[in-house]
């Protein structure tokens, strides 16, 4: 009998091992395969299609540690029908999973250079696996800088991770919020405002940028103004993904399908498209 490759359109059942509330409207689920047959490895930056049976299927980036192979970790905001229903799930509930799909951050390729990660809001979730991977091979890289901006102190994701990363001598972590009351001791201002003073050498730095598209456009402008080459900047795009394997065309982005050619693109490859309103 010939073994057939798994059908990319058929979800595999996973069991929720843990649900963790990150902020008021953001949560993380940890999933383990029901059949125990592995299949949880991924490249940082990739996403899975999560299917809540009877409700719907959505793309969610993987936010867990790629070095921890036994489970899948996804973080998302409860904004639509599926995510709101998903937020109510408990440990032991089931989800269907297809994936992982798409391109990842070039963490292996940029060895030797400084790496700056610029995250806005939920954009920290897809960058978190990249940072885990960079840290696990810390000696291969120059300076590693995380610049993270979000709406308010209450919206800061992965607070424990941030505390842990901040405590390390070999990482530079800067967090800023758009607004705060006077009890907040940290920085107030947009994340792009952190770029001019961040400690990295623009001539040998690769930037990984993830967040709302408007924020990414401004972040890229600041990075280029700082001296980065557009070919050293990577962005993670978001479009309405359905099939996730390049069949349906829902996520078409000019000549690209975000689901299979992205979501991570080198900026110089999509530079023109990012300024086209109709795309």
């Amino acid at each position: 009998m010939i073994d057939k490759a798994p059908d990319p359109i058929v979800p595999r059942p996973f069991r929720i091992q843990r649900v963790r509330r990150e902020t008021e409207d953001t949560f993380t689920v940890e999933l383990v395969p029901v059949d125990g047959a592995g299949g949880t490895s991924f490249v940082p930056g990739q996403f899975n299609m999560l299917y809540l049976f009877g409700v719907g299927e959505i793309p969610v980036s993987i936010s867990g540690d790629p070095n921890e192979g036994s489970k899948l970790v996804h973080t998302t905001r409860a904004v639509g029908t599926v995510t709101k229903a998903m937020q109510r799930l408990k440990r032991g509930s089931f989800l269907g999973v297809r994936g992982p799909y798409g391109t990842g951050w070039p963490v292996e390729e940029v060895a030797g250079s400084d790496v700056v990660l610029v995250a806005g809001g939920m954009g920290l979730a897809p960058l978190r696996p990249a940072l885990f991977r960079l840290i696990s091979r810390r000696e291969r890289y120059g300076r590693i800088v995380l610049l993270y901006g979000t709406r308010s102190p209450a919206d800061i994701l992965f607070q424990k991770d941030l505390e842990h990363w901040r405590a390390r001598f070999d990482l530079e972590v800067y967090v800023t919020v758009d607004r705060a009351m006077s009890s907040w001791r940290g920085n107030v201002g947009v994340v792009t405002g952190l770029i001019p003073k961040a400690p990295f050498d623009p001539s040998q730095t690769t930037a990984l940028v993830c967040g709302p598209e408007v924020m990414m456009r401004f972040a890229v402008q600041e990075l280029v103004r700082r001296g980065l080459n557009p070919s050293d900047i990577y962005v993670s795009m978001e479009r309405n993904m359905k099939c996730a394997v390049g069949f349906c065309g829902h996520c078409q982005f000019g000549p690209h399908f975000v689901c299979k050619d992205g979501p991570v693109f080198r900026y110089d490859g999509v530079k023109e498209l990012m300024w086209v309103r109709e795309v």
Binding site: G120, M122, D178, N187, V188, T192, P212, V214, M215
Partner: protein, 151 residues
């Protein structure tokens, strides 16, 4: 006698400024220090200075009777604080509070306004540099207003 000229000359805001203009600025400059919690200025006060932050952290705030002080922006080493000294009727529009001990160079705005009236080249040079800062802050404010992360 040592002056503040070498320090001013190294500040990115004044990069490339002609020596004669720097000398004019030095005549209006002084070293200042604010302990944590002290206000550099408060909304409604006369705006007679601006600051080059050398060390520490300053937060701009606006006070709301319902919500208390709301933080708008944090300024750190290398930042320029304040342009109300340039805009009549020369009153501060926000509070500026040192979050930690802050050292800065204060430029006397009244002194500089007079010098700019006399030396239009100096006035134009300063305005060009301040417009860059105003542009960046305006862009940042627009991004903050868009509430990008709430989508």
């Amino acid at each position: 006698m040592e002056t503040l000229e070498p320090i001013l000359a190294q500040h990115p805001f004044l990069e490339g400024m002609e020596r004669r203009h720097l000398e004019l600025l030095v005549g209006c400059a002084s070293n200042v220090r604010f302990d944590a919690g002290k206000f550099l200025f408060r909304e409604g006060e006369e705006a007679n200075h601006f600051y080059f932050v050398r060390h520490g952290r300053v937060v701009l705030e606006i006070f709301s009777p319902q919500r208390g002080p709301i933080e708008i922006e944090t300024l750190t080493e290398g930042d320029v604080l304040g342009w109300s000294w340039l805009v009549p009727p020369y009153y501060w529009r926000f509070d500026a509070r040192a979050v930690e001990m802050t050292r800065a160079i204060a430029l006397d705005g009244k002194c500089l306004r007079n010098k700019c009236e006399t030396d239009k080249d100096l006035g134009y040079e300063l305005l060009k540099r301040f417009v860059n800062i105003v542009d960046r802050r305006l862009q940042a404010t627009r991004l903050q207003l868009m509430d990008l992360y709430g989508d």
